[in-house]
């Protein structure tokens, strides 16, 4: 288990370093927030009062630790622009971002795994070559452009999906899901293409392994070996791929939320950047980074558990 402990410790150390980077970039670099907050003709007294109120008169180290301790208690500070607690703002937005990313991941797997498996089992044939060419094309489409084109076709021309964005879960789960479907597809397609291509190679590799040949030699049917042994074994490396693709998925969701006008974390991030709402950017970035790292950690533990052969190396 030392390998696992090392992985966990490594990821937590990385998280700590990431928090320092975020803090330095956003708390120390941008200068005095009072000039933004109080703006126009602030007097020195009101600037001093403002500094004291936000604790900006403390040393950077003290400020860093106060930030981290606050975060661990679920207190992320106050938004400059809205003057409300940031944790509430982010929590509100998570209700759209989390379902979107989950839906997109499920869709990407549902499309990517079977397509990859079909290509692998038809390796070298016309079907495989056609699929590979198509996937190469889909992998190359910018997701925001795909999103625009899909709105044009499905929302505005065919009117299958609402076009005005996602307005929360208040109108029922079904209408919420309906509004999220198109963005999730736009997000899923390039991912599905990457997963399919990877699944294909992974399955081809697995099918060439000795234990598959042994199983075949022992008289198991080709289909039986494929479904019971080869595919489950081929899926494990795909999990690693998903871990690596997570940041890309997060990036995609930020872009897609902005194209489809979904009030999620990605839209909040961009709004906060545009309004120079530094604490919101700082905490949101930290949260996304932590989310990606922890999910990654979870995936590597899962992979270890599924595939004991990997227990030695790091995933």
């Amino acid at each position: 288990m030392t390998g696992l402990a090392q992985t966990i410790f490594g990821r937590l150390a990385v998280l700590a370093i990431a928090s320092v980077i975020v803090f330095v970039l956003l708390s120390l670099l941008p200068g005095d927030p009072a000039t933004v907050m109080l703006g126009l003709n602030a007097s020195p007294e009101s600037i001093a009062a403002f500094h004291h109120q936000l604790g900006l008169d403390a040393s950077p180290v003290a400020r860093y630790f106060r930030w981290i301790v606050g975060l661990l208690h679920g207190n992320a500070g106050t938004s400059y622009v809205y003057d409300v607690p940031i944790s509430g703002l982010i929590l509100e937005r998570f209700q759209s971002t989390l379902p979107l990313i989950m839906l997109a991941t499920v869709l990407a797997l549902l499309i990517g795994l079977p397509v990859g498996a079909v290509a692998a089992t038809n390796r070298g044939k016309r079907l495989d070559l056609t699929l590979m060419a198509l996937l190469q094309l889909l992998k190359s489409i910018p997701d925001f452009w795909l999103a625009m084109m899909m709105t044009l076709l499905f929302s505005l021309t065919l009117r299958w999906f609402p076009a005005g964005g996602f307005s929360g879960w208040n109108n029922g789960v079904f209408s919420g899901l309906r509004a999220l479907t198109l963005p999730a597809i736009a997000l899923a397609i390039p991912q599905a293409a990457i997963i399919a291509r990877f699944m294909r190679s992974s399955l081809i590799d697995t099918l060439e392994q000795d234990f598959i040949r042994t199983a075949r030699a022992q008289g198991y049917s080709r289909q039986g070996v494929l479904w019971r042994v080869a595919i489950p074994n081929a899926v494990i490396p795909v999990l690693t791929l998903i871990g690596i693709q997570l940041p890309v998925l997060v990036t995609g969701s930020i872009i897609v939320e902005n194209v489809f006008n979904i009030p999620g974390c990605g839209k909040l991030l961009l709004e906060a950047v545009n309004q120079r709402d530094i604490p919101v950017v700082q905490n949101l970035v930290m949260l996304i980074v932590a989310g990606v790292l922890l999910l990654n950690l979870f995936l590597s533990i899962l992979i270890r558990w599924l595939d004991p052969r990997l227990a030695g190396g790091s995933a």
Binding site: A18, R123, L137, V250, R276
Partner: protein, 277 residues
């Protein structure tokens, strides 16, 4: 194995890239790197001899604008990939040689995993405002970890070979061994990776500038062009289609080039096409 397809993807990729980047470079030189001049009375002109793709909402020649944008987008992506490759390769070689430095380098790659370019760009824009430097920095920082990982893996597979031990015993230091024996041997893998990284970097660049986190105007840029033309998706869908397809052609071109190069250069190393990015 689809060896028959390998040269095809190399040819297809090269054709796409040449077909796009040659006129893009010409357009860029012709306009001195600037956007073509505005001509408001002539806006939304249909395609003609003077304007093969018509004009945009400012009356600029759409073809020149998009081509100049394609040049700028590719230039930013190329610069980012070159920087990421150089830095990542050096760090990866240090990492492959092991020791304490190696461990530190490998932790740094985990760190990079957590920071997609969009987050780096968001932080830099918040702190310093939008700039081309910030955008390049964001793409470079994201590209380095993958470069380190790939260099390290490839280098380690060489370092265990017998003749390396022989060279070591002959008194060559690890730097000399790395430069004389490891680097030439892993070069094909690095070249292939650079090509696919370029595809990813172009996607990142377009996405960042679409969101306004990229290089600021007035230099034309494909992502920014899409952002400003998108309200015309109904009345002038052409305006949205042209820059979008251009991004796709560039990305597809570099992806195909990467595939082709892999089959051509890496045959002794890899039996299979896809590798973790």
């Amino acid at each position: 194995m689809i060896l028959r397809g390998a040269p095809k993807s190399l040819i297809a990729g090269s054709v796409l890239l040449l077909g796009c980047l040659f006129p893009a470079t010409m357009a860029w030189i012709w306009h001195g790197g600037h956007a073509p001049f505005i001509d408001i009375p002539n806006r939304y002109a249909p395609p003609s001899l003077a304007h093969p793709l018509g004009t945009d909402p400012f009356g600029r020649d759409l073809a020149s604008y998009v081509l100049t944008g394609a040049f700028n987008t590719t230039a930013i992506a190329l610069l980012s990939v070159v920087l990421a490759t150089v830095i990542g390769t050096i760090l990866g070689l240090v990492g492959a040689n092991g020791g304490k430095r190696g461990w530190a380098v490998m932790s740094a790659t985990d760190l990079g995993l957590a920071f997609p370019p969009i987050l780096i760009a968001a932080m830099l824009v918040t702190a310093q405002g939008a700039s081309a430097t910030g955008e390049i920095l964001a793409i470079v920082l994201f590209g380095i970890p993958a470069q380190i990982r790939i260099t390290k893996q490839a280098a380690q597979s060489i370092l265990v070979l017998d003749y390396i031990s022989a060279a070591r015993m002959a008194g060559f230091g690890s730097v000399a061994v790395t430069i004389r024996h490891v680097l030439p041997n892993i070069a094909p893998i690095l070249i292939v990776h650079a090509s696919t990284s370029l595809a990813l970097a172009i996607l990142s660049e377009a996405g960042l500038s679409y969101l306004g986190l990229g290089a600021p105007p007035p230099q034309p840029d494909l992502g920014r062009a899409l952002a400003s033309y998108q309200i015309h998706i109904f009345d002038h869908p052409f305006l949205v289609a042209v820059p979008g397809v251009t991004v796709m052609v560039l990305v597809l071109g570099f992806n195909l080039l990467g595939d082709g190069l892999r089959d051509l250069l890496e045959r002794p190393f890899a039996r299979n096409e896809e590798r973790l990015p």
